[in-house]
């Protein structure tokens, strides 16, 4: 399988911008501001990096990985090491009218959440930070070193200051209070109800609040559940970046910008936006989109508590959107509680006695700066062990939580304070609080329960110490993509296929056959478009070369279009859309149309897939330099041993040669067959199947010869 197919994908070695990261195809572009902010907290130094040196990576994740590779000499350091570099990157489409794309910010660096290996990892978040950063004239931020005392970074257009937290008493504040304090400081005490002068000589003004990304008490206390929070509830959740910032004594980054983003073809961008809106939710002809997470989904639909009658928020509310989004997935409320919360954080505390308690619990997550998914799984695990008589006051594992109060606000606040402050949640020292702030698996290890509970499945953590999201025994591309990567991928491109099989999805239109669904989607999956068997989730196909191609394509699409150009995972891809002619969604055409309108280049969808493969391979090289070997790449024992099924017909597959929506009869991942599948995937990528190391030829074919040299210097280059 190696060789031939990738000849088609070889990246040309000529014509690109030559930067430190080596040659590559350039998409030197309008849409960028031209400079990346570099802040060394150890030295208190503020410098710039020319974006042109990294433009050929496209943006976001690609740039972040390339910067990390260049700036971190020793990739084996831990996440708390001051030499760890955190990149916070935008895309050329950030701050533009591109729907469901303008607002994401990509965060990368060595994380501290994963267990047992602290992989180089990623997370991203929405809101208005990336757009404001662009208006201020910056394409991204690189944070190096660690400050001696708590600081925050104050960006006002081109003026950047590293400021002590002391005058504003920021250290110790929750994320919301921190942001409010910075808003007041930057405005000079003026109320955000009028124009506010930026202070520049040209009289630039804004009505907007600064966009602030902050850590809460969890980050300050190095809780591995700590995340970064922006505005009310935009969270860079996975990876533990809140703790990484805490270790750097970095409380917040604030940015206010009044500058312009150059657009190559303004009329083309406006036309593209208006035309693309035809694929969106139509208030005049509403159509039930089944899933709240499609391009055409209704505004405000990402709030899960609204689907529970007992938790529906009373009073007035509105949908609330990130910058430029055509269909905001969150809401703001008359009560002011639960503002901007969405997805899993809105079901964090369904045991809540009242709606108000549920909303306040979610707000506390955001104020303390805590990763919802890990916090949720941790409390469920503690509850299970409590009910088993293992955990509790005076028991084998002494825990200050009283589960008789489970459902109350006091209970959840105490728990979240334990996570955030490493104490008993009431201000007193607590070994248990200190343990749980390390994350569930590290706590279980401390308690001597890890092997038993990970083997039994009591700890449902299928990938690298991340809690269950979608199960590898069922959602195959999710499982394989996660274990071949660094984290639970959280990329929903294919786990929404179920929506296209629901008659309600099509409204008055004709129902598509499953075969038509498969064809429409695979036609878009260049260069594998001829392989329809990629979408066969049946047990017979789960270890096949077709499945390997699905996993690979998903890695490439997301690495470039979703994580580098930053199309939102909640709204893209647009595979099948009843609002579109013949129900053929816009993915494949729309993404490059917007990119080219902004940048003026002639970049194709396939160019993005190719560049996505290059970025994915750079990431894999970084993990290899961190110490990854093929032998490490496996699921926990329970995935191989305990069957899992889902009778709901959410998956596409073949039965007797016929395409159908199928349920999954209970199945495990077969250990031996997975190992064979791993070999298949490694060969597809051009990696050494014995070690999983990249080979020189595979890297050079991608224009990554300098990466091969680095691997060679560390004896990490694969054979072949």
């Amino acid at each position: 399988m190696r060789g031939g197919i990738w000849d088609f994908l070889q990246i040309k070695q000529t014509g690109g911008v030559t930067g430190k990261t080596g040659p590559g195809r350039s998409i030197a572009m309008a849409g960028y501001t031209g400079k990346i902010l570099r802040v060394n907290l150890t030295e208190g130094a503020i410098t710039t990096i020319s974006t042109s040196d990294y433009e050929h990576w496209g943006g976001g994740h690609g740039m972040g990985s390339a910067l990390f590779f260049d700036l971190v000499d020793d990739k084996t350091i831990g996440g708390f090491d001051p030499r760890n570099v955190v990149t916070i990157m935008t895309s050329p489409l950030s701050g533009t009218l591109t729907p469901g794309c303008s607002a994401r910010t990509e965060v990368q660096g060595i994380g501290v959440q994963a267990y047992p290996y602290e992989w180089f990892t990623r997370s991203n978040f929405g809101g208005r930070f990336s757009s404001m950063l662009k208006y201020a004239g910056w394409d991204g931020i690189v944070v190096e070193g660690a400050a001696a005392a708590p600081v925050w970074i104050d960006i006002r257009d081109g003026d950047v200051e590293i400021r002590s937290c002391d005058p504003l008493s920021l250290w110790g504040k929750d994320t919301w209070e921190c942001q409010r304090t910075i808003w007041d400081y930057v405005s000079g005490g003026k109320v955000y109800e009028d124009w506010i002068d930026s202070g520049s000589l040209n009289g630039a003004r804004t009505t907007q609040r600064p966009a602030v990304l902050a850590i809460g008490p969890a980050g300050e206390h190095l809780s591995r559940m700590a995340c970064l929070i922006h505005d009310a509830a935009n969270g860079s959740g996975q990876g533990g970046f809140g703790a990484v910032w805490g270790s750097k004594k970095l409380k917040a980054i604030s940015v206010i910008g009044t500058g312009s983003i150059t657009i190559d073809d303004p009329n083309g961008l406006l036309e593209a936006r208006i035309e693309q809106m035809k694929n969106g939710y139509d208030l005049d002809n509403p159509r039930d989109a089944v899933s709240p997470n499609l391009f055409q989904s209704a505004p405000g639909g990402g709030v899960t508590w609204e689907s529970f009658p007992q938790f529906t928020a009373p009073g007035g509310k509105r949908p609330q959107a990130c910058v430029g989004c055509h269909s905001g997935c969150r809401r703001r409320y008359e009560s002011g509680l639960g503002n901007e919360a969405s997805c899993s954080e809105t079901t964090f505390y369904l045991a809540a006695e009242t709606p108000e308690t549920l909303y306040k619990a979610t707000d506390l997550l955001n104020k303390y700066g805590i990763n919802i998914l890990e916090a949720y799984f941790a409390i469920q695990y503690i509850k299970t062990l409590t009910e088993s008589g293992i955990i509790g006051p005076g028991r084998e594992i002494d825990c200050p939580l009283n589960f008789d109060e489970f459902g109350s606000l006091d209970f959840i606040e105490q728990y979240l304070k334990m996570v955030a402050y490493r104490n008993d949640g009431l201000g007193n020292e607590s070994a248990f609080g200190n343990d749980i702030a390390e994350g569930t698996l590290r706590a279980a290890e401390k308690w001597g329960r890890l092997n038993e509970d990970l083997t039994s499945g009591a700890l449902a953590y299928p990938y690298w110490g991340y809690p269950l999201h979608y199960d590898p025994r069922l959602q195959l591309e999710w499982g394989y993509g996660s274990i071949f990567g660094d984290r639970d991928i959280n990329e929903h491109c294919f786990n929404r296929l179920y929506a296209y099989g629901d008659p309600a999805y099509y409204g008055d239109s004709n129902q598509l056959t499953t075969e038509e669904v498969v064809k429409i989607i695979t036609d878009k999956m260049v260069p594998f478009q001829d392989d329809q068997l990629m979408l066969d989730y049946s047990t017979e196909n789960m270890y096949s070369e077709h499945m390997a191609r699905l996993v690979a394509w998903h890695r490439y699409y997301t690495r470039f279009w979703k994580e580098s150009i930053l199309f939102c995972d909640n709204r893209w891809p647009d595979f099948i859309n009843p609002n579109a002619p013949d129900m053929i969604g816009s993915t494949g055409a729309a993404e490059p149309r917007f990119l080219n309108a902004v940048t003026g280049k002639n970049f194709t969808f396939l160019d993005g897939i190719k560049l996505g493969r290059k970025i994915w391979n750079l990431d894999h090289a970084i993990w290899t330099l961190q110490g990854r070997h093929r032998d490490m790449v496996h699921f926990p024992d329970y995935i191989y041993r305990l069957p899992k099924g889902n009778k709901n017909k959410r998956y596409i597959g073949r039965e007797n040669g016929e395409w159908k929506y199928i349920g999954i009869i209970e199945r495990c991942v077969d250990r031996q067959k997975f190992e064979e599948f791993k070999t298949l995937f490694y060969e597809l990528e051009g990696w050494d199947p014995l070690t999983g190391y990249p080979t020189r030829s595979s890297l050079e074919n991608l224009g990554l010869g300098y990466v091969a040299n680095a691997l060679d210097a560390h004896n990490k280059l694969g054979k072949g």
Binding site: G203, T258, R273, E306, A321, G336
Partner: protein
């Protein structure tokens, strides 16, 4: 392409009097009479109305405005401004500030060089002639509705205000009273409409209207 000055024929999507009456109720009748009176004046009859309870805060209107007029993305250059507080309580978490196209515009009266006046080339819409504008900012300071609806273009060194897209150098659509307005076209939740009926000039009631219909209610949002 960028910078094309040619305007295309429009497809009229203006908010009709019937729509306005449907959404705003009988109170509009009095205003309608006022509107008829306005026909004899040389100022254009055209107003942007919006629903601050419906706006989703995406600022797409701001991005479209600066893109169509200046060819760049820059909220500070937008002639419509969305102010919001992430921690605020609905409906007071969002304020949208559009130019009211005042009948007796304080901005125009304050201009010492007659740069801000109805422009015959653009449907008699009150427009800033940037060749004449001296950058004194008197118009900005004179606007009685904070944040000032006349805005400062710090990159061009002149003031500017909403022209109902009559002069969009970077958008090929025909704008103005009879044409399309970029903010209206891109608003995903249809929280901005255009009318030729003069809104009440008292307070903000006439400009902040209810555009939420049954479909909005079916999504779980209030319609009253």
């Amino acid at each position: 392409m960028a910078g094309t000055l040619e305007k295309k024929e429009r497809t009229d999507s203006a908010f009709s009097r019937r729509d306005f009456i449907k959404h705003s109720g009988m109170a509009v009748i009095g205003m309608y009479v006022l509107g008829c009176d306005m026909q004899s004046k040389k100022e254009a009859l055209g107003f942007l109305l919006l629903d601050m309870k419906k706006c989703q805060g995406c600022i797409s209107c701001m991005l479209a405005c600066s893109l169509a007029h200046e060819g760049v993305e820059n909220p500070s250059l937008s002639r419509i401004q969305v102010l919001q507080n992430p921690y605020g309580k609905w409906p007071n978490d969002i304020t949208v500030a559009q130019c009211r196209q005042c009948v007796e515009p304080a901005c125009a009266a304050a201009c010492p060089v007659d740069a801000l006046k109805p422009d015959a080339d653009y449907d008699n819409i009150l427009t800033v002639d940037i060749q004449k504008c001296t950058g004194c900012k008197n118009c900005i300071q004179a606007c009685p509705y904070p944040p000032s609806r006349a805005i400062w273009n710090h990159e061009g060194g002149h003031s500017q205000k909403c022209d109902l897209c009559a002069n969009t150098l970077h958008w090929n659509e025909k704008g103005g009273v009879d044409g399309k307005k970029a903010c209206v076209e891109v608003c995903p939740v249809k929280a901005i409409v255009f009318t030729t009926v003069l809104p009440s000039q008292e307070g903000n009631e006439g400009y902040n209207v209810n555009l939420r219909g049954d479909a909005w209610g079916n999504l779980g949002f209030p319609t009253d």
